[in-house]
Subunit: 418 residues, 2 copies
């Protein structure tokens, strides 16, 4: 019998019927003798509705008050789920963030968890009670309600699992697993049984929407085994099967780990590339370019600096496509004249494709395989960046699906592991 945290997303809590369905699942785990703590999100659409009300009053509302308002979505959810469990004969008790003792810093709307007082949750499960804890929120040292920001419920679930030293944190969502790549792009995409924490972290950073990146960070920091699985399976739940379904994010690389060198292919359409040409090559130019962009609140993703002609250099980087115009303006109006650079050119018709796998640490020639697969399809690579377990390339966005499919095949991801 295990001690587990169940996390349910907004879609899983999207209606009274779906809440009852979540209750049935939890009741079944409880009846099988497992100790379960549940962290549900707000009903889907509720957080947007609440923040929409605030926005009608002021576009620039006080973040403390936004948190006061937004945190109620989860508070309603935990109460409703407790009632649903009780109506199935299961003892259940809901807790808000402050009632749970989830202490955060005071960064309203994006607070970070500092500590969790989990003893009462353990007391509850040891007394046969299912505690239901709000996701997404906590309380700061002055008693203000804080929220963890979008996707914070995943983080909260993992944090609770860490605090109670749960055997596993099961994240029920609307996908049934982490896939080798997006099945909407590659029909042959396969669900992964196991993925390493580092790989999951890279995939989350690269824009995989399944898990919020901070929850993966938290899982990594506290070594919490996390399983991603679907809450939309039919109701004759077989817990023995469910305990092995979906994708387990693990820290034990040797055990069970699939043999594939590359675990998955990620991609991101939201990129735009900007190049400053003919920059006089002198120390500190990178800072003189990146600094003003940062001051304009634009995040930079990839950065590449090439050697150019006659003592000058070309400096390229990517930003989110929505911030392309803003970044171009800053460069044209401030940076180019200040540095005496030749010209600013930009392209918002690009995308980033990445291969991720901890096998890349120990295998050589992975990048070569990647570049060959793209060359075979006549796809030109515009930029390259690499990390220990990831290689990303920037290509013209019309080639995105083609590139992803080619790489998926080149690394044998369409075949089940040996």
């Amino acid at each position: 019998m295990s001690l587990v945290v169940h996390k349910y997303g907004g879609t899983s809590m999207g209606s009274i019927e779906r809440i009852k369905s979540v209750a049935k699942r939890v009741a079944k785990w409880h009846a099988a003798g497992h100790k379960v703590i549940v962290v549900p999100s707000a009903m889907s659409g509720e957080t947007n509705r609440l923040l929409g009300l605030a926005k009608e009053i002021s576009a620039d509302a006080d973040p403390r008050e936004l948190d006061q308002i937004a945190s109620t979505g989860e508070q309603v959810s935990v109460g409703l789920l407790a009632i649903a469990l009780q109506s199935l004969g299961v003892k259940a008790k809901s807790y808000t963030g402050w009632q749970t003792g989830i202490k955060t810093d005071s960064s309203f709307t994006k607070a970070r968890i500092e500590s969790i007082d989990a003893q009462h949750l353990l007391d509850d499960v040891n007394n046969g009670i299912v505690p239901i804890v709000t996701g997404f929120q906590g309380v700061d040292s002055k008693g203000n309600i804080t929220t963890l920001g979008r996707g914070g419920s995943d983080t909260q679930a993992v944090a609770v699992a860490a605090a109670i030293k749960a055997d596993e944190c099961l994240i029920y969502t609307d996908v049934d697993a982490i896939y080798t790549t997006d099945p909407r792009v590659v029909a042959e995409a396969r669900p992964l049984k196991v993925i390493s924490f580092e790989e999951m972290f890279e995939l989350a950073s690269l824009g995989s929407k399944v898990l919020q990146i901070r929850s993966v960070e938290f899982a990594g920091k506290y070594k919490v085994p996390v399983r991603v699985l679907s809450s939309f399976t039919e109701h004759d739940i077989d817990i023995a099967v469910e305990s092995k379904s979906g994708t387990l994010i693990t820290f034990e690389e040797d055990e069970q780990m699939e043999q594939a060198v590359v675990a998955g292919i990620a991609f991101n359409r939201d990129e735009a590339k900007i190049t400053l040409r003919g920059v006089p090559d002198s120390p500190g130019i990178a800072y003189k370019i990146v600094g003003p962009i940062g001051e304009a609140n634009v995040d930079i993703d990839m950065i590449v600096q090439n050697i150019g002609e006659k003592g000058t250099t070309d400096f390229s980087f990517t930003v989110h496509r929505n911030e392309f115009k803003k970044a171009m303006e800053v460069l044209e109006s401030q940076v180019r004249p200040a540095l005496g650079a030749k010209e600013v050119v930009g392209d918002d018709k690009v995308c980033k494709v990445s291969i991720v796998g901890i096998g890349m640490r120990s295998h050589v020639g992975i990048a070569a395989t990647m570049f060959k697969a793209l060359a075979d399809e006549n796809i030109n690579i515009q930029m390259i960046t690499t990390s220990e377990i990831k290689t990303s390339v920037l290509v013209e966005d019309k080639y995105m699906e083609l590139a992803v499919r080619a790489l998926h095949k080149a690394f044998g991801l369409d075949q089940p592991p040996a």
Copy 2:
């Protein structure tokens, strides 16, 4: 410059536009130098919506969880109002019940306030901040969220006013004053400038919907001056005028008190009368009749015992019309056979009409004037009960409006006071 509590009901908070309108009013009081604490209700309809969700899951939901859910309506309101005030340049800060330090007992859905830690509210107003406190809720000694039950926002506002020793608690609502009687029944009904606490308490007990009876009780216990006034007046608010408008519920009988002997006429259509005839007259019969009715959770209002024939008595009482059938069944099946009474007769076509006034203490002949006015209209009185400052009669319900109008005129309530 005064220290005041403003209370706004659900209708006053019913839309974003109306919330902005509340903010304008509070900002004006603030700008005039007053120290204001605001207690808003949930947006109208919101509490019903939330409890409706719970009811969809279970008709018999855990009251603790209902409070967890229902308390969020006010939490959203205080946040929105804080944002609205801030957008007008006023420093404002919202507080939930537990953040305010409103301690209650653990009677979920109908908790009673035990204490309020008001120091931080005074600190706020002394620092130029407008604190906005949720109505309707608190926290028990174990950290559970509790609600005070319907209308609890009035009680909370009065309790906060008591805790900070406010000069006045202004209850903004959708009526502009307490009237001598319901203007929908008597066109000549006049707004009262002042009413005594005792009179208000009797009127609230008799079914006047303007103020919740517990808030009046609280005001009486802690001697909080309460003013009832409309939040629907136009926006060029003149605070000097507003401070004198509506109806002030006061404790200083001599000062300003109107000279009328009777302050108002109350009435209630929801009555039903039951009589147990031919009960053998012996000690303890009242308890033997009233006991089983109470056990069936039926509240009894008026009680009259008459002497009957040959050592028997007739025992009559009234109940809420909705509980008439239930009470009749209890009497017929249990009480009548047990006591050997002759018969049970009932009538649910009755209503109660009352005159209320502290002048009744010192004036004689008030009841006589009442009975004569009714007799002049040929209205038969079925039951009479009296208290120090109130006389109530039960009459056939088709005469209700006629009786109220006759009494309103007989006591000169249609004329302005001298």
